[in-house]
Amino acid sequence: MDLSFSKEDLAFRDEVREFLATSLPDDVKERFDRGLHATKEGQVRWQKILNEKGWLAPNWPKEYGGTGWTVTQKYIAAHEFGHASAPIALPFGVSMVGPVIYTFGNQEQKDYYLPRILNSDDWWCQGYSEPGSGSDLASLQTKAVRDGDDYIVNGQKIWTTFAQNADMIFCLVRTDSSVKQQEGISFLLIDMKTPGITVKPIIGLDKEHSLNEVFFEDVRVPVKNRIGEENKGWTYAKFLLGNERNGIARVARSKRQVERLHVIAKTERSGGRPLAEDPDFMNKLNRIEVDLMALEYTELRYLSMMSHGKNLSAEPSVLKIKGTEIQQRLTSLLVESLGMYGAPYEAEQNYEGRNEAQVGPDYGFGPMAEHLYLRAATIYGGSNEIQRNIISKMVLGL
């Protein structure tokens, strides 16, 4: 057991800091720090910078373009990225479909898709959920019927994040309805430009557009776009969900939120004194900080276990539940810190073309948008209720 950083680790930390200080575009940093969704252009621009440095996909094996970082280095990088409000790659390509492709894909798929992911040539989206199949994902109904060298896909996906930007969608589809639900699912990679695909926006309660419905009407998908075996898609899907849960704790971002709260609390006033001197407010902040520390060390402990070859079962669900609860408490406190200036709110799209200053303090622009969006953090990636079910079943055997 040892928590200290080696000399090499410290040198690495300086390298990351230096890189972020010189290479992270201000506009990308600002949006991320405020908690606003990245623009497609900004995200792609930044991902290309990261890729040039070789740092886009730290979790990939080195042979496919990963960094080969140690657990400690990954931790250091995540911490520095969070502190600098540097976005990491969007999860859909790098963290979700990428590992599925290099783990279960064939050589041709690896050769074609992996470099395109690293180079941000394809914006990926996730076609899992359907109107009737959310928590009960295995009941999905979107059908793929074999026709020569193609599948013909019919059905609907929903809640598809950033499908409006996407070039590719990875989809779970039903290829056999006669067997147990989990045994009739296949995993397809579908070009969003294929005829028969329609994307319809869903406006969120934050009045922003990140969610979509995606409709498939007689969409022809080449059989070579299938990952692995037909009807084995559930295995790949679950592998992906496991990875999704890993990144979802967002410890580094939450640490940055704590920093922002301390800054705001020095400026805002309560009872005629700085909010930073209000014991009720600071007590809440301190409690979150301690919980965040417990989360961070839990994550590190799990990472250490994995790096020693130990297998985890449902432990990552602990990170998902606690991480998202902390994210929500933080944005809730950010909104609270603003006092009445939490109330003014207009969707960003309404601001386009306007040049008015922010109502209230500058740091008041962002927290509410993020607070509203992150209500979903306890819903997406497998809801927290479902995560608790998983822990109680897999770890506790109840």
Partner: protein
């Protein structure tokens, strides 16, 4: 002791509930909230015709002599449909201040017009530095000739966007956090030197930041006696808090009904999700918050009619602190139990969540009222 409504009060409740049912479907509200004013002047007229706008005023000032209980009944029923019309700002706050502190001329000029739905009011009390402290007033009113000159910045003034007159708290004496030395002024919204930055709020309503730059008003604009407005402000704001509490109760109850309906309908894993025990218990927790909130809201409505000022203040603080927490919990969990559906603008539950969250913040958040409660011990 009696928590039951009278026959007459039951009629009022029915009639407001009918209005909400007829006019405030989720779609109708969404549409209304997107219009320029963010509410309907036709609805406002209708409310005047039904006598609702005059109900909280005493017969002496031309009202229909209702009490805080009638206001509670109306606000609770309006909360069920997230009604957007400015009843709280115009009638409870603006009208309340004029009826409480106004001279005969002011009352005659304003109250009948409010009751008839012809005049709208807003109350500008908050400032960028004040957070929720009503005594933290840096806006100044300097005597000048026969009148006053006002300078300052008022924050997040709900419905200043459509008000004909804005009642402004300003300092005529004392230093920035003194209770003494605060005065109220009735300022026409189109007075020279008054400028507004209008915007939407998270709960689908409208508000503005109001800047007063050498705004000249006559001595007839002074509402109540100079420098002595603080107790009046506190009293009317306490009434407004009680009204907000009632609105929260209605909104919580509706959010719970909507969510309950959804849990019975939505199927996953081959069963209505309401069959999952963890969700049943969550619903029960939400229900219990609404029950306790209803009790606190009723209690406070009755206490407003009593003369014990200290008891009134403490009860209002307790009610707001308790209901603020309940409102937040119910709103958040209602979204959670809807899954993705709860995150959409189209479906109604998110709007309940947002209004409940705003109520928690308006006129002092939970922390503020716990502090107030403790300080009043």
């Amino acid at each position: 002791m009696d928590f039951e409504l009278s026959d007459e009060q039951n009629l009022l409740k029915d009639s407001v509930e009918r209005f909400v049912k007829d006019n405030y479907s989720a779609e109708a509200r969404a549409k209304l909230s997107e219009t320029e004013t963010g509410f309907s002047r036709n609805h406002w007229k209708k409310m005047a015709e039904l006598g609702w706008l005059g109900l909280p005023f005493s017969e002496e000032v031309g009202g229909f002599g209702g009490t805080a209980v009638e206001t509670m009944i109306m606000m609770e029923s309006m909360g069920r449909g997230l009604v957007l019309e400015p009843f709280l700002t115009t009638v409870v706050m603006g009208g309340g201040l004029v009826a409480e502190a106004g001279n005969d001329t002011q009352i005659e000029a304003i109250i009948p017009a409010v009751i008839e739905g012809e005049l709208m009011l807003a109350f500008a009390y908050a400032e960028p530095q004040s957070r929720f402290d009503l005594n933290d007033v840096e806006t100044t009113a300097k005597k000048s000739g026969d009148g006053y000159v006002l300078n300052g910045h008022k924050s997040v003034v709900y419905h200043a966007t459509t008000a004909d007159k804005i009642i402004v708290s300003a300092r005529t004496g004392g230093s920035s956090r003194d209770e003494d030395g605060i005065s109220l002024f009735i300022v026409d919204n189109n007075t020279a030197g008054l400028s507004r930055r209008d915007y939407r709020t998270i709960d689908g309503q409208r508000a503005a930041d109001v800047t007063l730059d050498n705004v000249k008003v006559g001595s007839d604009a002074l509402l109540g006696s100079e420098g002595k407005a603080y107790p009046v402000i506190e009293k009317i704001v306490d009434r407004a808090i009680a009204a907000l509490c009632a609105e929260a109760v209605g909104a919580m109850q509706a959010a719970i009904e909507i969510t309950n309906g959804y849990l019975k309908e939505r199927k996953q894993f081959g069963a209505p999700i309401g069959k999952f025990q963890v969700l049943q218990h969550r619903m029960v927790d939400m229900y219990m918050e609404a029950e306790q909130s209803k009790s606190m809201s009723d209690m406070v409505a009755m206490k407003l009619g009593l003369d014990d000022v200290q008891d009134r203040r403490r009860s209002v603080a307790a009610a707001k602190a308790k209901i603020g927490q309940g409102a937040k919990f119910v709103g958040e969990q209602a979204v959670q139990l809807h899954g993705g559906m709860g995150m959409t603008d189209e479906y109604s539950i998110g709007h309940y969540f947002k209004r409940l969250m705003t109520i928690e913040m308006l006129l002092g958040n939970t922390d503020y009222h716990f502090k107030r409660y403790a300080a009043l011990a």
